[in-house]
Every structure is written in structure tokens, then in C-alpha cells.
């Protein structure tokens, strides 16, 4: 029997997830709405004064993006584990890490990417100046990508746990603090007139590290969760 | 150093003593919790081996 080449298998997983999401697209928009709602909470909780909000705008956009992404990540593997698809992947003989990575990539496209696209708009509502848009978008692209991988590891570990969403956040958020620091501060730096190159490069380094090591951890975690 | 100065800790008595006091508490807790964890495991292991020795009816 001819074995499917790995890129083909990964592409199939990717397409399947996109198709499934297309059929339930309200699940895709919910994190986005949550994102806007959370960012709205901050001016309501503090002040309508844009000059004051500007100081924390980068941070608020980043925190809201992290929380919204996490919310969506909880269900990443749940349905696949329930209906046995994940077991098939484990048994298929394909490199499990690639399949999982492609699933995470599809998930990111559906949740992380829309958040990044929305971020300049949401940021501007908090007083973020136009010159910070580029940094915001780049930092969030790298950050949400890394978070999807970290969240994928966490989701794989907690897939069988009842009410696992809080546990997932508890596990992933401390690991995501460096992302928050470098990402939000890079936006702050560009608003202060400094170059954000340093933290952005660090974000990129962390992202590539997650990209290379993450699938390993994810496949180990999935195997643990799926084995009986 | 006389006893009075020792207790006062140059005016920082509250801070120094509470810090050392907390340290003592944490160390004592570790001692107590470790022993309790071991003792609990011993009693339940004993119970388990007793049950397995009981003849099945």
C-alpha cells in the first residue's frame, strides 16, 4: 500500500479543519467578539481619556489577544480525541508532530489571524498611534503563533480533564509571560520613539524555537492522553 | 550584643522576626507534611496488604 507523503497528509489535515470550521463559523467569530468586548472593558474600567489609555493600549491589546486565543484553544483537540481521529493519527505511522502542527496552523488561521487583523482597529480605539501599527501587528503575529503552539501542548495535556479550560489557562499563561513582556513592551517602545527591533527579534527567536520543539511536546502529550 | 538590642534588631524587629518566623513555619510545615505523607502511605499500604492476605470466601 502506498503511503501518503507527509506534506500531503499535513495538507489534508489542514484542509479538513478549515472545512469543518467553515461549517461552524460562529465558533470562529466568538473569540473575536470576546476580544473586542474585553478591550472595551478597559476604558470603561479606567477612563475615556485617550491620552491616558494610550499608555496602556499596547498592553491591553496584547492581554486581550492572549486571553481570547486561550479561550479558543481549549477545544482544539477535544472533538478529534472524542471521535477517535487522534488515535488514527497516532496509529497511522505518519510523523505525529507534523499532523498536529498542521492542525494548530489551521486553528491559528481561524482564530489568531483574525485577532491580529482586528488589533490595529482595537488599538486605535484605545489611543494607539498609527506609527505603532506595524509593530503591533508583527508582534502579535509572532505572539499568537507561539501561543497557538504552547496552547496546543497544554490542550493536548488536558484533553481528558473535566472543565479543563481554566487548567489550560493556568498552565499556558505563565509560559506565555515572556511573549507578553516582549510583545507589549515592543509596542510601548515604538510609541516612545525607540526601535522595537530587540524585543521583536526575541519574539521571533521564541517563535522559531516553539515551532521546532513544540510538535515534539505536542505529540508526546497526545500519545499520553490517547493511550489507554 | 545584649539581649535588648538583639530583639529590637535596630528598629527592624518586625521585619526580621516575621521573616525568620515564616521561614521556621515553612521548614516545620515541610517536616510535618513529609512525615504525614509517608505515614499515611504506610497505613494504607498496610491495610492493602492485610486485605490481600484475607482469605477469599
Amino acid at each position: 500500500m502506498k503511503r501518503t507523503p507527509i506534506f500531503e497528509a499535513a495538507r489534508l489535515v489542514f484542509q479538513r479543519d478549515l472545512t469543518l470550521a467553515w461549517r461552524r463559523w460562529d465558533e470562529v467569530t466568538q473569540p473575536l467578539i470576546f476580544y473586542v468586548v474585553v478591550t472595551t472593558m478597559f476604558p470603561l474600567a479606567t477612563t475615556p481619556d485617550l491620552a491616558q489609555l494610550r499608555v496602556i493600549s499596547g498592553g491591553v491589546v496584547w492581554v486581550a489577544a492572549l486571553l481570547s486565543s486561550l479561550l479558543a484553544l481549549e477545544a482544539l483537540f477535544r472533538s478529534d480525541v472524542e471521535d477517535g481521529t487522534t488515535e488514527q493519527w497516532v496509529l497511522s505511522g505518519q510523523p505525529l508532530g507534523w499532523l498536529l502542527l498542521s492542525k494548530v496552523a489551521a486553528h491559528w488561521m481561524l482564530t489568531g489571524l483574525p485577532l491580529v487583523v482586528m488589533s490595529p482597529i482595537v488599538g486605535t480605539a484605545l489611543g494607539l498611534p498609527f506609527n505603532a501599527w506595524g509593530t503591533l501587528v508583527i508582534s502579535l503575529l509572532l505572539g499568537t503563533g507561539t501561543l497557538s503552539i504552547l496552547g496546543g501542548i497544554g490542550a493536548a495535556l488536558t484533553v481528558g480533564v473535566r472543565r479543563g479550560s481554566v487548567l489550560l489557562s493556568l498552565l499556558v499563561l505563565p509560559l506565555a509571560m515572556p511573549l507578553l513582556i516582549f510583545g507589549a513592551r515592543s509596542v510601548g517602545m515604538v510609541m516612545d520613539g525607540e526601535s522595537p527591533a530587540g524585543p521583536l527579534q526575541l519574539l521571533a527567536a521564541i517563535f522559531f524555537m516553539a515551532l521546532s520543539l513544540g510538535p515534539l511536546a505536542m505529540s508526546a502529550a497526545i500519545r499520553i492522553s490517547v493511550e489507554n | 550584643m545584649d539581649l535588648q538590642k538583639f530583639f529590637e534588631m535596630g528598629g527592624y524587629a518586625g521585619y526580621v522576626w516575621s521573616a525568620y518566623g515564616l521561614t521556621a513555619l515553612v521548614l516545620i510545615w515541610n517536616w510535618w507534611a513529609a512525615r504525614r505523607s509517608e505515614a499515611e502511605a504506610q497505613t494504607s499500604a498496610q491495610r492493602r496488604s492485610e486485605l490481600s492476605r484475607e482469605p477469599r470466601s
Partner: protein, 242 residues
Amino acid sequence: MWLWFHKLASPPHAYRLLGKMAPWFGWPALILILTATWWGLFKVPPDYQQGDAFRILYVHAPSAWMSMFTYVVMAVAAAVGLIWRIKLAHAASAACAPIGASFTFLALATGSIWGKPMWGTWWVWDARLTSELLLLFLYLGYMALRASFDEAQRADRASAVLAIVGVINVPIIHYSVQWWTTLHQPASVTKMGKPSIAAVMLVPLFLMIAGFQLYFGWAISRRLRGEILRRERNAGWLKEAS
């Protein structure tokens, strides 16, 4: 050599060995800690800058050290358990967690108490304290994950993955927090950890660290014995135990 290693990993043997080792850790630990306390509180003269408040260093720094040391031990044990499938290693990892979390809590509490006379506030977002706080979150997450599984084997292996991911992250977290604090130079740049102090004032510090390390050895031995008993279903050797 491998035979000894294999023997060590066998639960009944390890159980007996740990039982014999524990007092050899415990008593020296007690002596060292008491000596360090007396030395640090009594013998060392007050610091010319911080007065007597600097004596908190002698409990804060060793706690912070132990919090990080224990996490690394926990992660290494977890990795050994995961890679070579040695149950004893997983048990050791589980035993480390509450010990490490308590040291982290102590480091935070003593650091906070020290901060009040030094900087005037009970909490300050400096690199050391913030890193310790994040480390506490990592410990709590590890323990929460362990607790969420009914099956010991799954709990072991899942938390092992988490511990390994965490330990890789710890240097990143440290560096990022460090970088974050340098962005805004505080008015008084007081280095909390190690002010430049004379060698004689470092003696109680090293004594305390040594004492804490031995204490860790004692606590791990006792907890690990408990973990071994909990995990052993074979009643055979249990009858002779205790």
C-alpha cells in the same frame, strides 16, 4: 554500575535505602540551619547601609535558590521518568513539587517583607520577585495538572511533559523579566540579592544554603518513601516494610 542503578530503581530497595539515608540528611541539616541562624542574627554585625534588616538575606536568598534548584530537579526527574520509563523518577518528581512550591512561597514572602524597609512598599515588581512569582505559577500549574488525573501513570507522564516544557521556559522567563525591569530604571537601584558585602558576612548565607539543601534531601527521602508505597500494588514486599 548498571546493576547498581537498576537495583536503585527497584522500589523495595529504594524504600529501604531512603529510610536509612534520611537521618543522615536530617540531623546535619538541622545543625547547619540553627548554626546559620545564630550566626546570621547574632554574630554578624549590622550592615552600614541596611542596618539589621539585611539579615533577611540569610533566609530569602537560600529560599529563592532552593525554589529554582527544586524545579530543575523536578524537571530532570520527570524527564528521566518519561524517557526511560522509570516509575521511581516520576515519584521523585511528584515529591519535589510541594517542597519547591513552599520554598517559592517563602522566597516571595521574605522578599516582600524585606522590601518594605528597603523600598517602602510591600510589593515591588523587580526582577527577582516577579520571576519567583511566575515560578510559583509554574509549580501550581504542575500540581494542578497532576491532581486532575485519576490514573497515576497518566498524571505522571502528562505532568512530566509540562515540567520539561516549563524548565526550558524558565531561562526565557528570567531573561524577559530582567529585560522588562531594565526598561524603567527605578529611582533607587538597590540590588536586593547580593549587595557587595564582606566575606565574613557571607558565611551564614552558605551555611544556610547547605542546611536547606540537606533539608531538601531529608524531605525528599521521606516523601519519596510515601510515593513508593502509594504506587506499589504488589503486596509482597510491603508486608516486610515499615
